[in-house]
Amino acid sequence: MSEPASAFERPLLSPFNVVAGIIVLVGLWITYLRFTGGLGAVTNLDQNNAWGFWIGFDLLCGVALAAGGYTTAAAVEIFGMKKFHAALRPALLTGFLGYSLVVIALTYDVGRPWRLPYPFVLSPGPTSVLFEVGACVLLYLIVLFLEFSPMALEWLGERRLRRILVRLTLLLTIFGITLSTLHQSSLGALFLIAPSKLHPLWYSSYLPVFFFVSSVAAGLSMVIFEGTLARRSFSDKMDDEHKGTADAVVLGFGKAAAFVLAAYFAIKVFGVALDDNWGLLGTGYGLWFLVEMIGFVLLPCFLYLVGTRDRNVKLIRWTAFLTVLGIVLNRLNICLICFNWQLPAQDRYVPHWMEIGLSVFVVTLGVVAYRFIVTRMPVFYEHPDFSEGH
């Protein structure tokens, strides 16, 4: 587990490093174009379609998929389920990196990123849902950083500072869950202001509730999914507690996700009933709505149920992947596919390859940072000097 050994095990020109390197070079080139030629030089955004792939994927999906941090912290710290403890640090790390990537992506999308502090220090617009999203994401990023820092401080051997931060754990968890509830739901509330532009099957006064509930399912599933990937690459870093409780985490979170998806499906159905939109189910968009609901909400709910009852860890791992895809689909539907649905086909938006390229670049930065951290800091194992408290 010592550093020199892992440095020798991972050569500089490994396939991962080469691919990552190419992606980073392309990303840097897109960065140059964006800040010399404007958004028009690297995106397909236009006057009718102001939000595109960077908002739809990097912001909306990114925030939803980083929800594992607050859901795991709630389970372990608030509800006292100690058997999931091994999943906490990886989930917090993913959350911290995820939200950091969201902020990085925003600095590309927003016209004048150096003005991002303006709403909080100069000219607040409190009637805006975006103001609330920004305030809560900013505060939550600070919370996540503080929750992550003990891992770094243990690596650096900083005992006193670490002890101060660990004592804050419970308060940070409470604030983290509160802030997460607020901004996850508010991302949905953003679209309340545009009822004439979002397709009625996706537009609902319940949008904030839909986004919050689905974020819980997303977080639980991402913890399972990320655990599956980590097992393949970093099992040499995992201690006995981690390896021993891995299956318990998958089974426990899978069971919880089944409940959440069942509730989510139910309230989505209630949403259709609330606005009496049954007739729309027979349209083209209606069919697409059913694909999303049945294939990516009802089906994973059922598979989670079966997997939990039969203690089928492998099935639950695959279901987690399906759920994650479903959350991504839902966010892209609301922001891109079913937004501006009434515009004629030639006026609809399709992402520029550079928009996707930049998103891949940002995700790659996150993966590289993740690898750096888990191979050096006590995320999958307990640091021998600090094994009493967590």
Partner: protein
């Protein structure tokens, strides 16, 4: 006890009714605009599509020269919208009910009474002025483009080709000119008087009057009177509005009301969640502590009970052993005595 039953019931009923009447603030009462809030009435039946309004707007606002000049009629072949270089455009429509004669209409920012752009802007870059114009302040704009998502009329345009100082571009109702007592550029330039500037209330009265005087000429509707809570740019038309590029499905709910409900829940969550989560934590911890204590007690009792049972068993075993030993001793003594008796009996005989 001198109050009569009838008076008591009456006062109770009055009290009950008073309780059901919503308080003005809680139901977001109604708000009166600035009394001198001004706007423009666009009479579509008078528009001839000369585009002199576009030209005037371009000059007044120092906008770049367009690709094709303003007198180029081929521009009208395509349906256009405002963009980062033109605040206003005139479009041409072929309407089935009037074959042969095209209909023209001008579109630009409608300067809503409850602007969605102002509601959605997280740096408060938009403001509804007392003069009626909705103005934009580029000195605070971050470029998030949420206003473009929010505007039901798809008005704000963005400078996507500006790398470092992109702005939103939209009609200003020539607010600086209004402050100088002048007319908006487009209104002044219109040769057909299709555009009329004045106080919103007066414009609505004029529109109603025209519709009333010539019911065969106009559709009986003033577009902008109630749409999305009312706009300061009003339109009257000779053909149904949806046939000349107007959205008629926008409803009358003003934009701020669409999100104020969700935003009201924010402080409630901020207030309740910490107490709720803290409470759950304390309850689960108490439960754990209690069950841990009960478990410890049960274990200790079990140990004590086992110990006591073991002591009891050992005592019994010891007593039994003693009793057995005594019996064995007695038996041995008896045997010895019998033996002795037998031997003495044998010797005696």
């Amino acid at each position: 006890m001198s109050i009569s039953r009838r008076r008591f019931l009456k006062s109770m009923t009055a009290f009950g009714v008073a309780m059901t009447v919503p308080k003005a603030g809680g139901a977001y009462g109604s708000f009166a605009s600035h009394p001198d809030s001004c706007g423009v009435l666009h009479d579509i039946t008078l528009c001839i599509g000369c585009r002199l309004c576009e030209k005037a707007c371009n000059e007044v606002n120092d906008l770049p020269a367009p690709e094709r000049p303003f007198d180029d009629e081929s521009v009208l072949e395509k349906r256009r919208r405002s963009d980062d270089k033109s605040f206003t455009v005139v479009n041409r429509y072929q309407v089935d009910s009037r074959p042969g004669s095209p209909i023209f209409r001008k579109l630009q920012c409608n300067h809503c009474r409850e602007p969605a752009c102002a509601s959605s802007c997280f740096v408060a870059a938009y403001a509804k002025t007392p003069e009626g114009a909705v103005v934009y302040d580029p000195s605070v704009c971050v470029g998030c483009r949420y206003c473009m998502i929010a505007c039901p009329f798809d008005v704000p345009a963005y400078e996507y080709d500006e790398a470092l100082e992109p702005k939103i571009m939209k009609c200003t109702l020539c607010h600086p000119r209004l402050l100088e007592g002048k007319l908006p550029g487009c209104v002044e330039a219109c040769p057909q008087e299709s555009l009329l500037f004045g106080r919103r209330e007066d414009l609505i009265a004029v529109a109603r009057e025209r519709i009333h005087r010539h019911p065969d000429r106009y559709v009986d509707h003033i577009y902008g009177e109630h749409e999305v809570g009312g706009t300061n740019w009003l339109y009257i038309s000779g053909v149904p509005f949806e046939e000349v590029g107007f959205r008629t499905d926008l409803g009358t709910t003003p934009a701020p009301k669409l999100t104020s409900g969700a935003l009201s829940v924010v402080p409630v969550i901020a207030g309740v969640w910490p107490a709720l989560l803290g409470g759950i934590y304390l309850m689960t911890r108490t439960k754990e502590k209690t069950s841990a204590r009960e478990k410890a007690t049960a274990v200790r009792e079990a140990i004590d009970a086992t110990q006591a049972a073991a002591d009891e068993a050992r005592k019994k075993a010891a007593e039994k052993a003693k009793a057995d030993q005594e019996k064995a001793v007695q038996a041995a003594v008896k045997k010895a005595l019998d033996q002795a008796a037998k031997e003495s009996a044998k010797e005696g005989s």
